[in-house]
Amino acid sequence: MNKLLTISPSPHNYGDDSTKKVMYGVVIAMIPAMLVSFFYFGIGAVVLTLTAVVSALVFEYLIQKFILKKKEVSITDGSALVTGILLAFNLPSNLPIHLIIIGAFVAIAVGKMSFGGLGQNPFNPALVGRVFLLISFPVQMTSWPKPGALTAYLDAETGATPLAIVKEALKNGESFSSITEKIPGYADLMMGNMGGSLGEISAIALLIGFAYMLFRKIITWHIPVSVLGTIAIFSGILWLVNPETNADPLFHLLTGGAMLGAIFMATDMVTSPMSIKGQVIFGVGIGVLTIVIRVFGAYPEGVSFAILIMNAFVPLINAYVKPKRFGEVVK
């Protein structure tokens, strides 16, 4: 009966969850929104998604292999794939290929690997890539193809997003009720029939992805609900104060990156707080900042800035917001 036995401390069994399963779960949850983007933006969306994903994976591989000189390159863990898809989700479908590649490089190299790779980055890598592009190439980044031109890519007919239309009109003194013909109806906003970044257009598709992630227990409901709830409440208050100069809450929820940001970007595990209470604070902060930027700021859209700003607060939130300890002695 002499056999060499393995020794290790407890526990001796492990759950069947893994980083890979988490990441590929997120990928599956993004498929509905991806299909909607192919449906509305056609060839441009396909080119954009493929380029972003492939270049994200390639940069991750090159950096791990040749700069960090890792023995085992971990591009199959799904995290670069998620970043690639999310980056594509945040770009207009007529963006030239070289800009997509630059965006993917900034996302992976600056946003993620420079901090030490998976799990170490303070900011959401895809958003770092997007905001870099937005600030460096504002023209290309804010010309939005109109939905339905399936075979057009760089030559797609462009127009403003509903958010930009409303912002411009309100600035010119027009009332919100008078511009409703210029923007798509709520049914179109739900389905995604509007100009915008690839992944943000269809609220329905994003909500399906949300439901899937909740079902698989990849994320909890706290961040998305607190982000969207805050957006609804804050914009609702402004709208009630003056419905002529402010858009209604439903409009704010269904346009721009609100849904995409709340469901897929703010919930990025690496860059969101660890405790439930902290996650709610984080979500509320994103909601408030989003509306502040949209209503009072220079940009028509503020979700990505709001998330990046709140990302910076995460270490602080983690340090001060602790879970409720069992049997805590109240002093």
Binding site: P9, S10, P11, D17, M269, R325, F326, V329
Partner: protein, 443 residues
């Protein structure tokens, strides 16, 4: 809705494959190795020497303090030597090694199988009897039972909680005694209630043991003061603090004992041992041990004399499977991996689990993705990821202020981590270091 504890917890595959196997008595070993430290607290002092003849039930090592207890010979024969021997901890510890000759019992022990219901001892006499007979908590922690029953001055217990949860996967020894020794456990419970001077006893049993719940519900109907509560299956419900929270919704304060909220928790196995000690004068010299594992030919529950080598249990169940990777003393969540099969069964051995090679090795550690699952499943409301990082950086003051010492080492964090990080290893290191620092500070 079924009761459970509200915060954290996991539900690993239950794998109770030996649940249907009735308790069998294992043949006597040829040599019994009886460690003098089988309980929490001070090791006992040997009272026998080489060459002495001993009988079953005779004291061979005496309690050396309040938190300590007596140890009895589980066999009859000659003391071969008193020497260091590897025990389940993996360390060499002093043990009395006895060559077995026949099976001669101490004449004071009542070996008849009749149920003896009536008892007339007073509370303090019961506690004395429990100490004399070396009864310790049989759920795994082996805390001397007489200490738990001696309620400190100024405190008062108002409820006894009987732990029939057995939340560890695989293990079924408590389940079997609940089915086969239910009457004895009920009498043991009444004795414990008398010792604590409480009028109420709650028995918590997880819902995956419907047969045990049924047996005890029937008995509880006949015995006023005793209630049975089915619980939702959730690990670590068998932890004292979690069980108290689940049953009576009281939270034991950080650093405190259950008595601080008026509760005393005893394992069902301990209640049985108390019955035998008080009613039958029988010291704790044998216990039920599950021998289980996916590749084991005959998963079983054995009544084993303390000091029997683990190898003999494995032999009785068809030998060590070819694909064995790990042999564990206890369950998969909190048990200890054995480095030798010659390790003896002690008072705290609730099961021997054999894990196949494929499941025995840890998976490679990956980067933390900050998914917060460890924080969500921690039943104590701690942040395992943080405690691990702080320990790695030797920031002991922060380890302490983040309540590392509250950790009950249930392993839910490491179990659930998708990046397979050794969270509990580091938290243990942090706890040990912080404890040392606190002791040094007090001096």
């Amino acid at each position: 809705m079924l009761k459970t504890f509200p915060k954290g917890g996991v539900h690993p595959p239950e794998n109770k494959i030996s649940a249907g196997a009735a308790i069998e008595t294992l043949p006597l070993p040829t040599t019994a190795t009886i460690p003098i430290s089988q309980h929490l607290g001070a090791p006992s002092a040997p009272t026998v020497k080489k060459g002495d003849k001993v009988k079953v039930g005779q004291i061979i090592a005496q309690s050396t303090g309040f938190v300590s207890t007596n140890i009895h010979s589980s066999v009859s024969g000659t003391v071969q030597k008193i020497d260091d021997s590897i025990d389940a901890s993996g360390y060499k510890r002093k043990a009395v090694i006895i060559s077995v000759e026949g099976d001669e019992w101490d004449e004071n022990i009542d070996r008849s199988p009749e149920l003896k219901k009536e008892f007339s001892l007073s509370g303090p006499d019961i506690i004395k009897k429990v100490l004399e007979n070396g009864v310790v908590g049989l759920g795994g922690a082996t805390f001397p039972t007489h200490v738990k029953l001696s309620v400190p001055k100024g405190m008062k217990a108002d409820v006894l909680i009987l732990n029939g949860v057995e939340c560890e996967p695989y293990l079924t020894s408590d389940h079997r005694i609940m089915l086969e020794k239910a009457d004895e456990i009920i009498v043991g419970t009444q004795i414990l209630m008398k010792a604590l001077d409480v009028k109420k006893a709650l028995i918590g049993i997880e819902n995956n043991k419907p047969d045990a719940i049924e047996v005890f519900s029937k008995l509880a109907d006949k015995n006023p003061g005793i209630e049975v509560h089915p619980l939702k299956v959730q690990y670590p419900q068998g932890g004292e603090k979690q069980l108290i929270k689940a049953l009576i919704n009281r939270e034991v304060p950080s650093g405190g004992l259950p008595i601080a909220v008026g509760a005393v928790v005893q394992n069902v196995g301990t209640a049985l041992a108390v019955y035998e000690a008080v009613q039958k004068n029988k010291p704790l010299i044998e216990r039920v041990v599950s021998l289980t594992g996916k590749s084991v030919k005959k998963p079983a529950n054995y009544l084993v004399r303390i000091g029997t080598p683990v190898a003999e249990l494995i032999e009785a169940s068809g030998g060590l499977p070819d694909d064995t990777g790990k042999v564990i003393n206890g369950g998969p969540m909190m048990g200890k991996a054995l480095n030798s099969l010659e390790v003896p069964v002690t008072k705290g051995t609730s099961g021997i689990l054999i894990i196949p090679e494929l499941e025995a090795r840890r998976r490679p550690v990956q980067n933390c993705i900050r998914c917060a699952r460890c924080t969500q499943v921690c039943p104590m409301g701690l942040e395992p990821y943080l405690l691990m990082t702080l320990t790695q950086k030797s920031m002991w003051d922060k380890v302490e202020t983040n309540h590392a010492l509250d950790c009950i080492e249930c392993g839910s964090c490491a179990y659930t981590c998708p990046a397979d990080r050794p969270l509990l290893d580091y938290i243990r290191l942090g706890k040990t270091t912080v404890s040392k620092l606190i002791r040094a500070r007090k001096q």
